[in-house]
Amino acid sequence: MTIAAIDEAVCNGCGICVKHCPIDVIRLDRERKKAVIAYREDCMLCGQCLDCPEDAVRLEPGWGRAYLLGWG
């Protein structure tokens, strides 16, 4: 997968990762004041969520989506 986790114990709810994600993968749970991965399958692995000031975001290598790559 791509974006793997946001550590809720560390997340301070500032919402920077929500704003910086260009494709709306992350949303803010406003009640709990925590960032949540809402649309993981759309992550394009740009890494801009790593702007997190608390270092709460973890990415993983790999790609979870079936897709034509290379030449078979």
Binding site: Y39, L45, C46, P61, W63, G70, W71
Partner: protein, 561 residues
């Protein structure tokens, strides 16, 4: 559903390099400006990944003729020489603007460090007839896009982040604003404007490997639907990756370091080796990475191995055909009709990768050229739009037209079923991504893909449905990608020759008598219609030069003729 109406002089759609310049320049001209972006200005589009920009400056010893010759040679004469020169000549002033915005550059003794960016590591045949490639880039330091955003804020322009524009509002054949919805929160907005700058980037197909999924040709397609001409769609901006970890490492931390040259990109590595252990020759273009690897695969010699990201190790290379073209970087887009980036539709201006100046021609010819082009066209479009907004009469708002536009924006959310954007995108990718469609082209294969795309256009796109606001955005992006696919296929079918990054297996030679021309597309009564526009006399190659000297690179299949 919350509904808001915003009024401004100049509306800028898309907040990358081009849009930020447009907003700042329109403000300097004294106009009210609203800048909208479906992401967050400074973090969206391709801008965050740009590591450098080219600057032409005679005081640094740059020779205009040499730079122009480079673009002509690599772009195979399809660059609009007038625009190429405009971009070069304006670029130093835009560099000074960037410094004034607070963008920091890698410097030594108060002077920016300038790096020669070799476009090619190979020896061109007839080297004496083709001068060394000479572009120079300067590297900015990390965090530079945030400085662009600050410059926009400081200018007094209003920024609306995370807002998706779905269509341009028209009245009496003029663009008078735009409509759309917030990415999050189920709210719609009508943006009324005296003039609009379209700077929403180019378009790909959400391919894996390079993080350009938000670039779904929205700007090209919205302008096309408003009556603009679009050009350059048959050309590609290939960027290889590797199939094992196509998106790894995330590209932003690497590129945003300000030293993209440190990123060992496989696409221009000269050491490609095919499955039989033989070196892969450079074909067609003056650098590796267009159809070299694709041709090896076509001949049954995949996998191709190359050193590349993330660590410079040798591993299998995925063709760009596999992961999809990036964007057609600065090769095409909305056709400008004058030096202010005005388009065929009054009130609409185009900038950056949305703007089809054809300043690089049939292949991308220099590192840092896209950011340079974006800054220059952004500034010009901003000033052009500001002047139009100042001088043109404003139309009275058309409340009914606005309501209908919002209804169309929300239509996928109203449908209870149909086709999902994700499924549709995957069908589209499967039709277009294989190397034998958009990289090694042939009439019957282009027609087969077009049949699929036409079906998506007619049967699937009208029935796209969205279960929430996130999917509503995906639905509109998907519709735009389908339109972009049709543009790319129709332009590729019309150009019955090979040139630059357009390769036709069935027409493997450059055909100067018939094809020193641009392909353009326009809507004629609801039908996407491609046509040709001859390039100006001054852009043509010297007909006295033998073919092999006009075109030093050999394409597969042309030797046999």
């Amino acid at each position: 559903m919350k509904e808001t109406t915003v009024q401004t002089d100049v509306l800028v759609i898309g907040g990358g390099m081009a849009g930020c310049f447009a907003a700042v320049k329109a403000r300097e001209a004294g106009r009210d400006v609203v800048l909208v972006d479906k992401g967050y200005v400074s973090k969206s589009g391709e801008t965050p990944y740009a590591g450098d920009t080219a600057v032409f400056n005679p005081a640094w010893g740059h020779d205009l003729d040499a730079w122009l010759t480079q673009v002509r040679t690599v772009g195979e004469y399809l660059n609009d020489a007038r625009w190429t020169e405009i971009v070069f000549r304006d670029s130093y002033e835009r560099f000074l603007d960037l410094r004034a915005f607070g963008v920091e550059f890698l410097e030594e003794d108060g002077e920016p460090v300038r790096l020669d960016h070799p476009l090619t590591q190979i020896e061109l045949p007839d080297r004496d007839k083709f001068p060394p490639l000479v572009s120079q880039v300067v590297h900015w330091l990390p965090g530079w896009p945030a400085k662009l955003r600050k410059a926009v804020v400081k200018s007094g322009a209003k920024i609306i982040d995370r807002f998706v524009v779905t269509e341009l509002l028209m009245e009496d054949g003029r663009v008078v604003g735009a409509a759309g919805f917030d990415v999050e929160g189920n709210a719609t907005r009508v943006l009324r404007a005296g003039a609009v700058v379209m700077s929403a980037g180019g378009g790909g197909f959400k391919a894996v490997g390079y993080p350009t999924h938000e670039l779904t040709a929205d700007g090209h397609v919205m302008a096309y639907r408003a009556g603009c001409e679009v050009t350059g769609k048959e050309f590609l901006s290939p960027h290889h990756t590797n199939p094992e970890e196509p998106g790894w490492p995330p590209i932003y931390p690497v590129f945003a370091s300000g030293h993209s040259a440190a990123f060992p990109g496989a696409w221009h590595d000269p050491e490609m080796v095919n499955a039989e252990g033989d070196p892969v020759p450079v074909r067609g273009m003056a650098w590796h990475g267009w159809i070299d690897a694709e041709w090896e695969a076509h001949e049954g010699r995949a996998p191709v191995l190359a050193a590349g990201p993330p660590d410079g190790k040798v591993r299998p290379l995925s063709g760009p055909g596999g992961h999809g073209s990036m964007l057609g970087h600065a090769a095409g887009g909305i056709v400008p009709v004058d030096d202010t980036c005005a388009t065929h539709v009054p009130g609409l201006y185009a900038a950056g990768d949305s703007c089809g100046t054809c300043f690089v021609g049939a292949a991308y010819s220099g590192f840092g050229f896209a950011t340079m082009h974006a800054a220059v066209t952004g500034a010009r479009a901003g000033l052009g739009a500001a002047e139009y907004a100042r001088s043109a009469d404003r139309a009275a708002p058309d409340a009914r037209g606005e309501a209908e536009a919002l209804e169309r924006a929300l239509a996928p959310l109203r449908r209870r079923g149909g086709f999902t954007p994700r499924w549709t995108t995957q069908v589209l990718q499967n039709a277009l991504a294989p190397y034998f469609v958009l990289y090694i082209k042939k009439e019957e294969r282009l027609r087969a893909a077009l049949t699929t795309v036409e079906f998506l256009r007619d049967h699937v796109v009208p029935k796209l449905y969205a279960r929430d606001d996130h999917e509503l955005r995906l639905a509109h992006e998907t519709a735009n990608m389908v339109a972009n696919a049709e543009m790319k296929l129709r332009a590729s079918l019309l150009r019955t020759e090979s040139r630059g990054t357009h390769y036709r297996e069935d027409f493997p030679r450059r055909d100067d008598p018939d094809w020193l021309a641009w392909v353009r597309l326009k809507d004629e009564g609801g039908v996407m219609t491609p046509f040709t526009e001859p390039i100006p006399e001054e852009s043509r190659p010297d007909p006295a030069l033998p073919y092999a000297q006009r075109y030093p690179m050999r394409l597969p299949g042309e030797e046999a003729r």
